[in-house]
Symmetry: C2
Protein backbone atom coordinates (compact mmCIF):
# COMPACT_ATOMS: atom_id res chain seq x y z
CA UNK A 1 0.00 0.00 0.00
CA UNK A 2 2.95 2.31 0.53
CA UNK A 3 3.94 2.22 -3.11
CA UNK A 4 1.17 4.25 -4.74
CA UNK A 5 1.49 6.94 -2.07
CA UNK A 6 5.26 6.98 -2.52
CA UNK A 7 4.91 7.18 -6.28
CA UNK A 8 2.33 9.87 -5.94
CA UNK A 9 4.46 11.99 -3.62
CA UNK A 10 7.34 11.44 -6.02
CA UNK A 11 5.26 12.63 -8.98
CA UNK A 12 4.16 15.69 -7.05
CA UNK A 13 7.78 16.46 -6.25
CA UNK A 14 8.92 16.01 -9.86
CA UNK A 15 6.10 18.28 -11.03
CA UNK A 16 7.10 20.95 -8.52
CA UNK A 17 10.77 20.84 -9.58
CA UNK A 18 9.92 20.90 -13.28
CA UNK A 19 7.42 23.71 -12.75
CA UNK A 20 9.95 25.75 -10.77
CA UNK A 21 12.39 25.49 -13.65
CA UNK A 22 9.75 26.35 -16.26
CA UNK A 23 8.20 29.28 -14.37
CA UNK A 24 11.61 30.71 -13.42
CA UNK A 25 12.62 30.63 -17.08
CA UNK A 26 9.37 31.71 -18.73
CA UNK A 27 7.31 33.54 -16.14
CA UNK A 28 3.72 32.61 -15.37
CA UNK A 29 1.99 33.65 -18.57
CA UNK A 30 4.38 32.00 -21.01
CA UNK A 31 5.04 28.81 -19.09
CA UNK A 32 3.21 25.78 -20.47
CA UNK A 33 1.83 22.80 -18.59
CA UNK A 34 2.85 20.68 -21.54
CA UNK A 35 6.56 21.45 -21.11
CA UNK A 36 6.29 20.99 -17.35
CA UNK A 37 4.72 17.54 -17.82
CA UNK A 38 7.32 16.55 -20.38
CA UNK A 39 10.14 17.59 -18.05
CA UNK A 40 8.51 15.87 -15.04
CA UNK A 41 7.64 12.73 -17.06
CA UNK A 42 4.09 13.10 -15.80
CA UNK A 43 0.76 13.69 -17.47
CA UNK A 44 -1.70 16.51 -17.28
CA UNK A 45 -4.05 14.45 -15.07
CA UNK A 46 -1.31 14.39 -12.41
CA UNK A 47 -1.15 18.20 -12.51
CA UNK A 48 -4.89 18.37 -12.00
CA UNK A 49 -4.79 15.75 -9.26
CA UNK A 50 -1.96 17.34 -7.27
CA UNK A 51 -2.45 21.05 -7.88
CA UNK A 52 -5.73 21.77 -9.65
CA UNK A 53 -4.71 24.18 -12.39
CA UNK A 54 -1.79 26.22 -13.72
CA UNK A 55 -2.52 29.10 -11.35
CA UNK A 56 -2.49 26.87 -8.28
CA UNK A 57 0.60 25.01 -9.48
CA UNK A 58 2.33 28.41 -9.83
CA UNK A 59 1.23 29.46 -6.33
CA UNK A 60 2.67 26.20 -4.95
CA UNK A 61 5.94 26.79 -6.83
CA UNK A 62 6.38 30.33 -5.53
CA UNK A 63 5.58 29.17 -2.01
CA UNK A 64 8.10 26.32 -2.34
CA UNK A 65 10.83 28.58 -3.82
CA UNK A 66 10.21 31.17 -1.14
CA UNK A 67 10.50 28.59 1.65
CA UNK A 68 13.72 27.17 0.21
CA UNK A 69 15.16 30.66 -0.25
CA UNK A 70 14.21 31.49 3.33
CA UNK A 71 15.76 28.27 4.66
CA UNK A 72 19.03 29.02 2.86
CA UNK A 73 19.03 32.65 3.87
CA UNK A 74 22.34 33.68 5.42
CA UNK A 75 21.83 34.68 9.03
CA UNK A 76 22.44 38.27 10.00
CA UNK A 77 24.81 38.95 12.82
CA UNK A 78 22.77 38.92 16.00
CA UNK A 79 21.72 42.26 17.42
CA UNK A 80 24.55 44.63 16.58
CA UNK A 81 24.71 47.40 19.11
CA UNK A 82 24.14 50.70 17.28
CA UNK A 83 21.63 51.43 14.51
CA UNK A 84 24.61 52.29 12.27
CA UNK A 85 26.04 48.81 12.80
CA UNK A 86 22.64 47.24 12.29
CA UNK A 87 22.20 49.08 8.99
CA UNK A 88 25.58 47.79 7.82
CA UNK A 89 24.74 44.27 8.94
CA UNK A 90 21.32 44.37 7.27
CA UNK A 91 22.64 45.81 3.99
CA UNK A 92 25.39 43.17 3.93
CA UNK A 93 22.92 40.33 4.48
CA UNK A 94 20.54 41.78 1.86
CA UNK A 95 23.29 42.09 -0.77
CA UNK A 96 24.42 38.57 0.07
CA UNK A 97 20.91 37.22 -0.53
CA UNK A 98 20.72 39.14 -3.80
CA UNK A 99 24.18 38.35 -5.15
CA UNK A 100 25.62 35.21 -3.61
CA UNK A 101 26.45 33.03 -6.64
CA UNK A 102 26.11 29.89 -4.52
CA UNK A 103 22.44 30.62 -3.79
CA UNK A 104 19.86 29.28 -6.20
CA UNK A 105 18.50 31.91 -8.53
CA UNK A 106 14.88 30.76 -9.05
CA UNK A 107 13.53 33.17 -6.53
CA UNK A 108 15.29 36.08 -8.23
CA UNK A 109 14.08 34.88 -11.64
CA UNK A 110 10.51 34.35 -10.49
CA UNK A 111 10.57 37.81 -8.95
CA UNK A 112 11.99 39.39 -12.11
CA UNK A 113 9.08 37.94 -14.10
CA UNK A 114 6.63 39.14 -11.44
CA UNK A 115 8.03 42.67 -11.72
CA UNK A 116 7.43 42.62 -15.48
CA UNK A 117 3.99 41.02 -15.28
CA UNK A 118 2.66 40.85 -11.71
CA UNK A 119 0.32 38.06 -10.63
CA UNK A 120 -1.36 37.50 -7.24
CA UNK A 121 1.86 35.70 -6.20
CA UNK A 122 3.56 39.10 -5.95
CA UNK A 123 0.97 40.32 -3.46
CA UNK A 124 1.70 37.30 -1.29
CA UNK A 125 5.48 37.76 -1.55
CA UNK A 126 5.20 41.42 -0.58
CA UNK A 127 2.94 40.57 2.36
CA UNK A 128 5.05 37.69 3.61
CA UNK A 129 8.64 38.64 2.86
CA UNK A 130 9.36 41.89 1.06
CA UNK A 131 7.49 44.07 3.53
CA UNK A 132 9.39 42.52 6.46
CA UNK A 133 12.72 43.42 4.83
CA UNK A 134 11.45 46.93 4.14
CA UNK A 135 10.18 47.35 7.70
CA UNK A 136 13.51 46.34 9.20
CA UNK A 137 15.33 49.03 7.23
CA UNK A 138 12.59 51.56 8.00
CA UNK A 139 12.92 50.76 11.70
CA UNK A 140 16.67 51.37 11.67
CA UNK A 141 16.15 54.67 9.83
CA UNK A 142 13.58 55.79 12.41
CA UNK A 143 16.15 55.13 15.12
CA UNK A 144 18.85 56.99 13.20
CA UNK A 145 16.64 59.98 12.43
CA UNK A 146 13.58 60.02 14.69
CA UNK A 147 12.56 63.50 13.60
CA UNK A 148 12.12 62.63 9.93
CA UNK A 149 8.60 62.97 8.60
CA UNK A 150 6.90 59.69 7.66
CA UNK A 151 7.30 60.68 4.04
CA UNK A 152 11.01 61.53 4.27
CA UNK A 153 11.64 58.29 6.17
CA UNK A 154 9.95 56.15 3.56
CA UNK A 155 11.81 57.75 0.66
CA UNK A 156 15.08 57.21 2.56
CA UNK A 157 14.12 53.56 3.10
CA UNK A 158 13.47 53.15 -0.63
CA UNK A 159 16.85 54.78 -1.41
CA UNK A 160 18.63 52.16 0.70
CA UNK A 161 16.68 49.28 -0.88
CA UNK A 162 17.23 50.74 -4.37
CA UNK A 163 21.00 50.77 -3.95
CA UNK A 164 20.97 47.08 -2.97
CA UNK A 165 18.58 45.63 -5.56
CA UNK A 166 20.32 47.57 -8.33
CA UNK A 167 23.34 45.24 -8.26
CA UNK A 168 21.08 42.27 -8.90
CA UNK A 169 18.54 43.82 -11.22
CA UNK A 170 20.97 45.85 -13.34
CA UNK A 171 23.83 43.35 -13.13
CA UNK A 172 23.97 43.06 -16.92
CA UNK A 173 24.47 46.82 -17.21
CA UNK A 174 26.96 47.13 -14.34
CA UNK A 175 29.13 44.41 -15.87
CA UNK A 176 29.11 46.22 -19.23
CA UNK A 177 29.87 49.63 -17.73
CA UNK A 178 32.56 48.27 -15.41
CA UNK A 179 33.94 44.93 -16.60
CA UNK A 180 36.37 44.94 -13.66
CA UNK A 181 33.65 45.29 -10.99
CA UNK A 182 32.43 41.91 -9.72
CA UNK A 183 29.60 42.65 -7.27
CA UNK A 184 29.19 39.03 -6.09
CA UNK A 185 32.85 38.96 -5.03
CA UNK A 186 32.86 42.38 -3.42
CA UNK A 187 29.79 42.28 -1.25
CA UNK A 188 31.49 43.72 1.85
CA UNK A 189 32.93 46.62 -0.11
CA UNK A 190 29.57 47.38 -1.76
CA UNK A 191 27.81 47.07 1.59
CA UNK A 192 30.34 49.48 3.08
CA UNK A 193 29.65 51.98 0.30
CA UNK A 194 25.85 51.69 0.48
CA UNK A 195 25.95 51.98 4.29
CA UNK A 196 28.24 55.02 4.37
CA UNK A 197 26.43 56.74 1.49
CA UNK A 198 23.06 56.18 3.17
CA UNK A 199 24.17 57.10 6.71
CA UNK A 200 25.61 60.39 5.48
CA UNK A 201 22.43 61.17 3.58
CA UNK A 202 20.10 60.17 6.42
CA UNK A 203 22.16 62.22 8.88
CA UNK A 204 21.72 65.31 6.77
CA UNK A 205 17.99 64.71 6.12
CA UNK A 206 17.56 64.81 9.87
CA UNK A 207 18.09 68.56 9.89
CA UNK A 208 14.61 69.92 10.39
CA UNK A 209 13.34 71.05 7.03
CA UNK A 210 9.85 71.29 5.62
CA UNK A 211 9.03 68.51 3.20
CA UNK A 212 6.77 70.81 1.25
CA UNK A 213 9.72 72.86 0.03
CA UNK A 214 11.05 71.88 -3.36
CA UNK B 1 6.42 52.09 -60.69
CA UNK B 2 6.00 53.83 -57.33
CA UNK B 3 3.52 51.27 -56.10
CA UNK B 4 5.71 48.21 -55.52
CA UNK B 5 8.32 50.32 -53.70
CA UNK B 6 5.60 51.93 -51.64
CA UNK B 7 4.10 48.56 -50.79
CA UNK B 8 7.49 47.19 -49.91
CA UNK B 9 8.33 50.09 -47.61
CA UNK B 10 4.88 49.69 -46.11
CA UNK B 11 5.46 45.97 -45.44
CA UNK B 12 8.82 46.73 -43.88
CA UNK B 13 7.16 49.29 -41.64
CA UNK B 14 4.35 46.93 -40.62
CA UNK B 15 6.90 44.22 -39.82
CA UNK B 16 8.90 46.64 -37.67
CA UNK B 17 5.82 47.74 -35.73
CA UNK B 18 4.59 44.16 -35.22
CA UNK B 19 8.07 43.02 -34.20
CA UNK B 20 8.42 45.88 -31.73
CA UNK B 21 5.19 44.80 -30.07
CA UNK B 22 6.16 41.12 -30.05
CA UNK B 23 9.73 41.60 -28.79
CA UNK B 24 8.64 44.11 -26.12
CA UNK B 25 6.10 41.60 -24.86
CA UNK B 26 8.08 38.38 -25.17
CA UNK B 27 11.75 39.27 -25.24
CA UNK B 28 14.08 38.07 -27.99
CA UNK B 29 14.24 34.36 -27.24
CA UNK B 30 10.51 33.75 -26.86
CA UNK B 31 9.30 36.00 -29.66
CA UNK B 32 8.23 34.10 -32.77
CA UNK B 33 8.51 35.19 -36.41
CA UNK B 34 5.19 33.44 -36.98
CA UNK B 35 3.31 35.76 -34.61
CA UNK B 36 5.11 38.80 -36.00
CA UNK B 37 4.08 37.86 -39.56
CA UNK B 38 0.50 37.21 -38.51
CA UNK B 39 0.29 40.60 -36.80
CA UNK B 40 1.97 42.38 -39.72
CA UNK B 41 -0.13 40.50 -42.33
CA UNK B 42 3.12 39.60 -44.06
CA UNK B 43 4.88 36.36 -44.82
CA UNK B 44 8.17 34.93 -43.72
CA UNK B 45 9.75 35.67 -47.12
CA UNK B 46 9.17 39.38 -46.42
CA UNK B 47 11.08 39.07 -43.14
CA UNK B 48 13.98 37.45 -44.96
CA UNK B 49 13.84 40.02 -47.73
CA UNK B 50 13.76 43.09 -45.46
CA UNK B 51 15.79 41.98 -42.47
CA UNK B 52 17.53 38.67 -43.06
CA UNK B 53 16.77 36.72 -39.91
CA UNK B 54 15.22 37.02 -36.44
CA UNK B 55 18.46 38.36 -34.94
CA UNK B 56 18.73 41.14 -37.49
CA UNK B 57 15.04 41.97 -37.24
CA UNK B 58 15.51 42.31 -33.47
CA UNK B 59 18.56 44.56 -33.94
CA UNK B 60 16.50 46.78 -36.28
CA UNK B 61 13.66 46.91 -33.74
CA UNK B 62 15.92 47.92 -30.85
CA UNK B 63 17.58 50.54 -33.04
CA UNK B 64 14.17 51.86 -34.10
CA UNK B 65 12.79 51.91 -30.51
CA UNK B 66 15.92 53.60 -29.27
CA UNK B 67 15.73 56.31 -31.93
CA UNK B 68 12.07 56.97 -31.20
CA UNK B 69 12.72 57.06 -27.45
CA UNK B 70 15.60 59.48 -28.06
CA UNK B 71 13.47 61.71 -30.30
CA UNK B 72 10.75 61.89 -27.66
CA UNK B 73 13.20 62.42 -24.84
CA UNK B 74 12.27 65.41 -22.69
CA UNK B 75 14.93 68.08 -22.94
CA UNK B 76 16.91 68.92 -19.85
CA UNK B 77 17.04 72.49 -18.75
CA UNK B 78 19.96 74.11 -20.51
CA UNK B 79 23.21 74.40 -18.59
CA UNK B 80 22.18 75.02 -15.00
CA UNK B 81 24.84 76.99 -13.20
CA UNK B 82 26.08 74.86 -10.29
CA UNK B 83 26.82 71.12 -10.28
CA UNK B 84 24.15 70.76 -7.56
CA UNK B 85 21.56 72.30 -9.89
CA UNK B 86 22.77 70.16 -12.76
CA UNK B 87 22.44 67.00 -10.68
CA UNK B 88 18.85 67.96 -9.83
CA UNK B 89 18.08 68.74 -13.44
CA UNK B 90 19.64 65.49 -14.66
CA UNK B 91 17.89 63.33 -12.06
CA UNK B 92 14.56 65.00 -12.88
CA UNK B 93 14.99 64.36 -16.61
CA UNK B 94 16.10 60.78 -15.98
CA UNK B 95 13.09 60.03 -13.74
CA UNK B 96 10.84 61.65 -16.33
CA UNK B 97 12.20 59.36 -19.05
CA UNK B 98 11.75 56.35 -16.77
CA UNK B 99 8.30 57.16 -15.43
CA UNK B 100 6.39 59.51 -17.70
CA UNK B 101 3.13 57.62 -18.41
CA UNK B 102 2.75 59.48 -21.70
CA UNK B 103 5.99 58.04 -23.06
CA UNK B 104 5.83 54.74 -24.92
CA UNK B 105 7.04 51.83 -22.84
CA UNK B 106 8.58 49.53 -25.48
CA UNK B 107 12.08 50.70 -24.71
CA UNK B 108 11.59 49.97 -21.01
CA UNK B 109 10.08 46.57 -21.81
CA UNK B 110 12.81 45.66 -24.30
CA UNK B 111 15.40 46.68 -21.72
CA UNK B 112 13.71 44.65 -18.96
CA UNK B 113 13.92 41.53 -21.15
CA UNK B 114 17.55 42.34 -21.99
CA UNK B 115 18.37 42.55 -18.27
CA UNK B 116 16.89 39.09 -17.74
CA UNK B 117 18.50 37.54 -20.82
CA UNK B 118 21.05 39.84 -22.44
CA UNK B 119 21.68 39.72 -26.19
CA UNK B 120 24.21 41.70 -28.27
CA UNK B 121 21.56 44.46 -28.44
CA UNK B 122 22.36 45.29 -24.80
CA UNK B 123 26.02 45.88 -25.63
CA UNK B 124 24.96 48.35 -28.30
CA UNK B 125 22.50 50.12 -25.99
CA UNK B 126 25.14 50.46 -23.30
CA UNK B 127 27.69 51.79 -25.80
CA UNK B 128 25.32 54.22 -27.45
CA UNK B 129 23.00 55.46 -24.73
CA UNK B 130 23.37 54.06 -21.22
CA UNK B 131 27.04 54.92 -20.90
CA UNK B 132 26.37 58.54 -21.92
CA UNK B 133 23.78 58.90 -19.15
CA UNK B 134 26.19 57.33 -16.67
CA UNK B 135 29.05 59.58 -17.78
CA UNK B 136 26.98 62.73 -17.33
CA UNK B 137 26.21 61.83 -13.71
CA UNK B 138 29.82 60.76 -13.13
CA UNK B 139 31.01 64.13 -14.50
CA UNK B 140 28.77 66.06 -12.13
CA UNK B 141 29.98 63.95 -9.20
CA UNK B 142 33.61 64.62 -10.12
CA UNK B 143 32.85 68.34 -10.03
CA UNK B 144 31.07 68.03 -6.69
CA UNK B 145 33.80 65.94 -5.11
CA UNK B 146 37.02 66.18 -7.12
CA UNK B 147 39.04 64.42 -4.45
CA UNK B 148 37.07 61.17 -4.54
CA UNK B 149 39.00 58.13 -5.68
CA UNK B 150 37.93 56.73 -9.05
CA UNK B 151 36.39 53.81 -7.19
CA UNK B 152 34.42 55.92 -4.70
CA UNK B 153 33.20 58.14 -7.54
CA UNK B 154 31.89 55.24 -9.55
CA UNK B 155 30.06 53.67 -6.63
CA UNK B 156 28.48 57.06 -5.91
CA UNK B 157 27.43 57.32 -9.56
CA UNK B 158 25.81 53.89 -9.36
CA UNK B 159 24.00 54.90 -6.15
CA UNK B 160 22.42 57.86 -7.95
CA UNK B 161 21.41 55.74 -10.96
CA UNK B 162 20.09 52.98 -8.67
CA UNK B 163 17.75 55.37 -6.86
CA UNK B 164 16.26 56.49 -10.19
CA UNK B 165 15.83 53.16 -12.00
CA UNK B 166 14.32 51.61 -8.86
CA UNK B 167 11.04 53.50 -9.34
CA UNK B 168 10.65 52.01 -12.80
CA UNK B 169 12.07 48.56 -12.22
CA UNK B 170 10.47 47.91 -8.83
CA UNK B 171 7.28 49.85 -9.56
CA UNK B 172 5.16 46.77 -8.84
CA UNK B 173 6.71 46.48 -5.38
CA UNK B 174 6.58 50.21 -4.56
CA UNK B 175 2.88 50.32 -5.42
CA UNK B 176 2.21 47.35 -3.12
CA UNK B 177 4.27 48.71 -0.23
CA UNK B 178 2.85 52.22 -0.58
CA UNK B 179 -0.47 52.27 -2.43
CA UNK B 180 -0.66 56.03 -1.92
CA UNK B 181 2.70 56.78 -3.57
CA UNK B 182 2.34 57.47 -7.30
CA UNK B 183 5.86 57.93 -8.65
CA UNK B 184 4.77 59.00 -12.15
CA UNK B 185 2.76 61.87 -10.66
CA UNK B 186 5.41 62.93 -8.15
CA UNK B 187 8.51 63.11 -10.27
CA UNK B 188 9.66 66.49 -8.94
CA UNK B 189 9.29 65.38 -5.35
CA UNK B 190 11.16 62.11 -5.99
CA UNK B 191 13.86 63.99 -7.88
CA UNK B 192 14.17 66.40 -4.96
CA UNK B 193 14.61 63.49 -2.56
CA UNK B 194 17.13 61.61 -4.73
CA UNK B 195 19.10 64.82 -5.32
CA UNK B 196 19.22 65.86 -1.66
CA UNK B 197 19.96 62.33 -0.45
CA UNK B 198 22.78 61.97 -2.97
CA UNK B 199 24.28 65.45 -2.48
CA UNK B 200 24.46 64.91 1.29
CA UNK B 201 26.10 61.53 0.80
CA UNK B 202 28.57 62.74 -1.84
CA UNK B 203 29.48 65.74 0.33
CA UNK B 204 30.39 63.46 3.18
CA UNK B 205 32.29 60.98 0.99
CA UNK B 206 34.46 63.90 0.00
CA UNK B 207 36.12 63.94 3.41
CA UNK B 208 39.47 62.34 2.78
CA UNK B 209 39.28 58.76 3.94
CA UNK B 210 41.03 55.64 2.78
CA UNK B 211 38.87 53.39 0.64
CA UNK B 212 40.61 50.34 2.00
CA UNK B 213 39.09 50.84 5.44
CA UNK B 214 35.99 48.79 6.13
Amino acid sequence: MARPDGRSADTRRRLLDAALEEFAREGFRRATIERICRRAKANIAAVHYHFGDKGRLYAAVVEHADERAEAERPRERAAASSPEERLRSHVTAFLRRLLDPKRPTWMAQLLAHELLEPTPALDRLVRRRIRANHDQIAGIIRELAPHLSREAARLATLSVIAQCVFYRHSAAIVSRLYPDLHPAQEIDRLADHVTRFSLAAIGSLEKPREDVAS
